[in-house]
Symmetry: C2
Subunit: 443 residues, 2 copies
């Protein structure tokens, strides 16, 4: 019988406290042995801690243990004297005296050379050894940035009066209908995995006015490209009482500004490790789909094949155009053709061939789809009918509109893809913890 009273201070120290400790002081730290470099009677034992690397110095005579007792990937606790050393990571090192081994690695060799600056191995090998490859400090840093993007999303939206929701991933019907659904059996009934929280978040606008969700979505697309996943994390928000779809873009711009500021402040170490320059989101250009499509085609000599959608190559050209013309790595492309948008998209009253919707491109890659939604019950029913869609399974969704829904709209951001572009990677699997694609279902 005892009482728990909360987190207790430990006598082992973390990097940020060590950096504030005076030279000559006795300290205790734990960590994983990242690498051991022997130089005659001296050896450097680099510890990997969650905040970074820490150099331990082993000297025969000073250390009260045998270096042979240590190998890479053991986890240990050491006691020793803190010293300043400009050449060591963070400018400090520990002259090791005592050792306590916390756990042992069974193997002599790691399957990947994780202590190298760049983990020079194939993507395939990185994914096959995910629990090892991410121990490389630059590999793991990408996922710290991913955390920053998610955290900023929530914190910014809390500050703007949004409520966080959790919508079900198993359902009888999907949000957008159509193919590309994973199907499962749910207690002898057919069910699907949701492609998007779209219909749920719209229903919840009628309750909370503004909602968001950060959760997995599932798409059974048979793509095998560098930018598609079959399961990914979607940062979704939906907001009511908008004056127009510009309000949605303004909110996303606010998020991007907040996110970049948070990364600069709280994730500076990771940005430095990866040598990443943050994009400026102070002002983001927004331009019509048909206008920019033509302008980019003209400027770069591209032939438009499909007038209703953007090919990846066109997105790249638009990204280039935005950078050259407005000095912006972000660009909103607005007024997508109605035929390429789902039934709930609000058509432009001035020309119903187009919608009050947009994509956000970052360095020429789509990272967001958003727009205003239909809020009028009759308009929604007519749109469904005009597309030959059934109202089956949409009863509760339509009920929300029968009983009054404010003008509203929202967005979905692909988190892994956003991280990929931020980190300057060219394959979304590089910034996905455990990717799921056509061929990969493990680990």
């Amino acid at each position: 019988m005892e009482f728990l009273t909360g987190v207790k201070e430990k006598d082992t120290m973390e990097l940020n406290s060590l950096l504030r400790t005076c030279a000559g002081e006795n300290v205790k730290v734990n960590g994983a042995v990242h690498t051991i470099r022997k130089m005659g009677t001296v050896a450097f034992v680099i510890l990997r801690k969650r905040e970074g690397l820490l150099q331990g110095v082993y000297e025969e005579g000073t250390a009260q243990f045998d270096l042979k007792d240590l190998k890479e990937a053991d986890t240990i606790e050491i006691e020793g004297t803190l010293e300043r050393n400009d050449k060591a990571p963070g400018g400090i090192e520990i002259r090791m005296k005592r050792l306590r081994v916390l756990s042992r690695s069974v193997e002599e060799m790691m399957p990947l050379a994780i202590s190298k600056w760049k983990l020079g191995t194939s993507l395939e090998a990185k994914l096959n050894y995910r629990s090892i490859s991410l121990r490389n400090i630059r590999e793991r840093a990408k996922f710290r940035l991913q955390e920053g993007l998610t955290r900023a999303f929530r914190d910014f939206l809390y500050s703007q009066g949004f409520t966080e929701i959790h919508t079900p991933k198993i359902g009888a019907k999907s949000a957008e209908g159509g193919a590309n659904l994973f199907r499962l059996e749910y207690f002898h009934r057919p069910a699907v995995l949701q492609q998007s929280p779209q219909l749920y978040k719209q229903m919840m606008v009628g309750v909370f006015d503004r909602v968001f969700e950060t959760a997995p979505v599932f798409r059974a697309e048979k793509h095998n490209t560098k930018r598609h996943l079959n399961e990914y994390t979607s940062l979704d928000f939906e907001m009511g009482y908008i004056d127009g779809f510009e309000d949605i873009m303004a909110m996303e711009t606010g998020y991007l500004q907040y996110a970049m500021a948070l990364l600069a402040e709280e994730y500076a170490e990771e940005l430095k490790l990866l040598d990443i320059g943050l994009p400026d989101a102070t002002e983001i250009p927004a331009i019509r789909f048909d206008v920019i499509k033509e302008r980019a085609a003209e400027r770069y000599g591209h032939k438009i094949r499909n007038p209703h959608d953007l090919e990846p190559e066109e997105e790249q050209l638009i990204g280039r155009y935005a950078r050259e013309e407005w000095g912006s790595r972000f660009v909103f492309v607005t007024h997508y053709p109605s035929r390429k948008r789902p039934f709930y998209a609000m058509d432009d009253p001035e020309d119903t061939a187009y919608t009050l919707s947009f994509d956000l491109l970052f360095d020429g890659m789509e990272i967001t789809t958003g727009g205003q939604r239909i809020h009028d019950y009759k308009m929604l029913k007519d749109k469904l009918a005009s597309r030959g869609m059934t109202e089956d399974g949409l009863g509760q969704y339509l009920d929300a509109f029968r009983h009054g829904m404010p003008p509203h709209g929202g967005i979905g951001i692909g988190l892994e893809r956003f991280t990929m572009m931020l980190a300057g990677e060219d394959n979304v699997r590089e910034t996905t913890l455990f990717p799921r694609d056509l061929s990969r279902l493990e680990p």
Copy 2:
């Protein structure tokens, strides 16, 4: 072509600004018409806004519109003069002058009387009309508290050096093996939905030392009880470099303290609406499974039928015991029998029939399962073998241990169940936005 520069101030005001506005000022607000009460030549139009209710006063002569133009569930924008009125919600009201209708409700009647203080309807009806029933301000308040619990979890763990992760929900194998898995076809291969992020978060302890995830989990259990769901949100953390499993309980205690403080500070309005008293988490008793089981049986004259597990009734008795004996609504029950815990649970070296694990009970209901995990490669392999389990599909998981894993452990909290207990509800569906159970797959 325009530039987005971030969120712009609107001329419509939210409740918190209105409360700080002087009487007599002209204001503009929007909201949904929650209810209209006519009293002769005066009428009260109650607006529902995300922060609460706001009273509009309609007087013939003052108002420049016809009350007949308004009905419940319309969404509107009004302009008028702010006045103090102690009898109105929040002590303020708006003398309405101008009206702009934003959207129309199609029906005269709502299917549920959402403006009543207690939505006196069956759970079944509430769930069948989820997009309507949650417009009742007490119904929606429960989900605001749910947000608070999740938000506190993340914010507290960020402050403790945890990294947020996103692990896949579709996999080739499940974490814990066994039955109760939803199965699906993944591009012509068999796959399952994860019951828990357990194996993934353990692998990531080897990378980030401390990790957490707040995400859905899926359990194909054929239970049909008031406390089980087939899909729920799990608040999971896993931490390395622990000195013992007390560190894990201490971390959860720290979270509970943080969460209760956050709720008291930021969700006071919702707590008041629901008349909820927050539990005290200053010190939480922890007591052995076998000891408390016997003590509770003895004190309350209960006959122990199953020595290896706790029946729901026993949990209630233990909850009662904790309250009577230690004045605590929380109690950690430690050292669960090894046979009832999964393979990765660390057995107590002093008696391997028990584990270094625990449940947390809140008012006699289990809301957390946690414990120390095996970190030694050989011990893990032996445990798998002793249970007759195959290592198939666990290759990468085991690799993490082959190459050194620190002593670690963690917890999973059922968010909806925690919310249920906090809100004093007796059915977990009351605190689940869109529950999934044996019979419910819609909406």
